[in-house]
Amino acid sequence: MRFERREHRPAALVIATPILAVVAALAVAGLLIALAGAPVLTAYWKILTGAFGSRLSTTETLTRAAPLMLTGLAAAIAFRARLWNIGAEGQFYLGAIAVAATSSHVLAGLPSAVQIPLLFVVGAAAGMVLLLVPLWLRLRFSVDEVVTTLLLNFVAILFVSMLIDGVLKDPTAFGWPQSVGIDSAAKLPKLLARSRLHIGLIIAIGLAFAIHFVQSRTVFGLQSRAAGLNPTGAVFAGVPLARTLVIVAMMSGGLAGLAGAIEVMGVKGYVTTDLSPGYGYSGIVVAMLANLNPLGVVLAALFTAIMFVGADGMSRSLGIPTYIADVTVALSLISMLIAVFFTQYRIRR
């Protein structure tokens, strides 16, 4: 048995791969639910109703999807240029804490129309800075950025922990380690009254379309793809490799920082060290499920959010640990990798 590269990739197959991957992941997850002694079909149904069964749960799912879209876009942009940014989790936290600090200490009192755009810039900039360090180490010392971005996640979260235990600690939180709250003018407008759904979702979807345009219609998009497909060849073709990677890193880190910013400004209002339930790491799965396509990221983020919110409801009624959501999402990454392989290769005896 051996593998042979396909001459053509049928469009139907390419579109079907993420669906097949998700179905396979759900099947394995179903097996794990069955082993735990719960009825599988009921469990699937509870996940679905847990995510969409009521107005509250639907808006919750969409609220969850917004930061996942941004971290998913962060990973998709970087991976396309073969910049392995696994540090979105740290960039998320740095963006979040930068927003909390700036809003409460610098911009407090300014009107929303001024404060909100400025805070977006601040959050994105904080994420950028954290990714430029590993990129610099790669360009200057040839250090693999996978390990450095992973390690910097821990540094960033400890840094945030230090700030919310120290200079940025909320004095009114009864000794609980949480940051000072953002200024009331920094809160993002709601999309729907009586829900947590905020305009961050619209911003994330808008950015997905903008990035799709940049990647498919501009010189920079071509250069960043070339840098990923064949760096040596790209240099010969006149692509400024280092400059392209720096811009890619700024976009990727910026998006992850922005994810942290909207989560603070749209949902929480302050920062704790459990602000993110792994948005940075899930973003990697989202990007891979979308096959690194920015528009696909929107749908993949929605699927991931459904799993997380739905599994919460399912676990309450059936007693299955909520970790089943993380397991399913991780499995869908693995099955997506395999599915993509079989769109490129076929089995020959």
Partner: protein
């Protein structure tokens, strides 16, 4: 200044260094074995987590401690097999496959743990490995309590390091592993099956990683809790580069690293809150990044690392 000298002269520090180093030694050797055969295994963080969980769970359910380590090793091997299918047979991106294995193995650990052990106020514990004094040597002043009064897995880790240095650098098996990682086409021409070698190395390496994780729950602590591996796997990946892919240097690197870690823990107590504790906790990660920056260009990378091998393709 006196405080510094006191810390360095205490046998407790040096005993702690070996204890802190043990999971790092095992994890680094495991990652090194995979990489020497040409496969980067970023599954390490999740595999260590799973080893920590399943080893502990086995002992919690009545198995003895050595069986616990064995169960962890077998489970690690299974995850290694999964990583090998993805990266060796299918030749997928080793970065993304490894992250996939880590995400799956760690979330699966938490799932199984929550399912088998109900939520309780205080986490359930097991009776961990007890230190064994080496007869004679442990009576030495200072050196005895510092180095010769450790738990059995620590001695085992050091033995494995020496054994692996011998196997990789001095035996035909080691030569086959190195060839698979340097030039798989040449290995094939010599009648060695690089894919089989890579499978073996990834499975064995992953088993070592899982044992390193199990040390945490069966010797260093006595209970399991989520996120307890705390990036040790990633630190091991950095230590492999620092060790320039040589097992004996991996042992030294892990010990050096553990020395800094043990030292900062004691310094933290000595300074008594004058500096935020988070600064100290950052040190291991910053140190790993610094080690990478210093060594990345100097280290000799296995030439075929991260390159999938397909028969008849170049």
């Amino acid at each position: 200044m006196n405080a510094l000298v006191d810390i360095l002269a205490s046998a407790g520090l040096w005993a702690a260094v070996l204890r802190i180093a043990t999971p790092l030694i095992l994890g680094t050797l495991g990652a090194l074995l995979c990489e020497r055969s040409g496969v980067l295994n970023l599954g390490i963080e999740g595999i260590m987590t799973f080893g920590a969980m399943i080893g502990w769970l086995a002992v919690y359910n009545g198995a003895d401690l050595w069986t616990g380590l064995l169960v962890a090793a077998l489970a690690g091997g299974v995850f290694g097999f999964l990583h090998a299918v993805l990266t060796v047979t299918l030749g997928l991106s080793q970065h993304v496959s490894g992250l996939g294995v880590t995400l799956f193995a760690s979330s699966f650990s938490y799932y199984v743990f929550r399912l088998m052990v109900p939520v309780a106020g205080t986490p359930p514990t097991v009776e961990p490995f007890q230190p064994i004094a080496i007869p004679g040597l442990s009576d030495l002043p200072f050196f005895g309590p510092a180095f010769f009064n450790q738990t059995p897995p620590t001695y085992l880790a050091i033995l494995i390091a020496i054994l692996m240095a011998y196997i990789i650098l001095r035996t035909p098996l080691g030569l086959a592993i190195r060839m698979a990682g340097e030039n798989p086409h040449a290995a094939e021409a010599q009648g060695i099956n690089p894919m089989a070698v890579r499978y073996g190395a990834v499975i064995a390496g992953s088993a070592l990683m899982a044992v390193g994780g199990a040390f945490l729950t069966l010797s260093a602590f006595n209970s399991f809790f989520p996120t307890m591996v705390q990036g040790r796997g990633w630190i091991c990946i950095a230590l492999v580069v620092f060790a320039s892919w040589r097992p004996e240097r991996a042992l030294l690197g892990a010990l050096l690293f553990a020395f800094f870690d043990g030292f900062q823990l004691r310094l933290q107590t000595a300074l008594n809150g004058a500096v935020p504790y988070q600064i100290f906790l950052m040190i291991p990660y910053v140190l790993s990044i610094a080690a990478l920056a210093v060594m990345a260009r100097r280290a000799r990378v296995p030439q075929a690392l991260m390159q999938p091998y397909r028969r008849g393709e170049r």
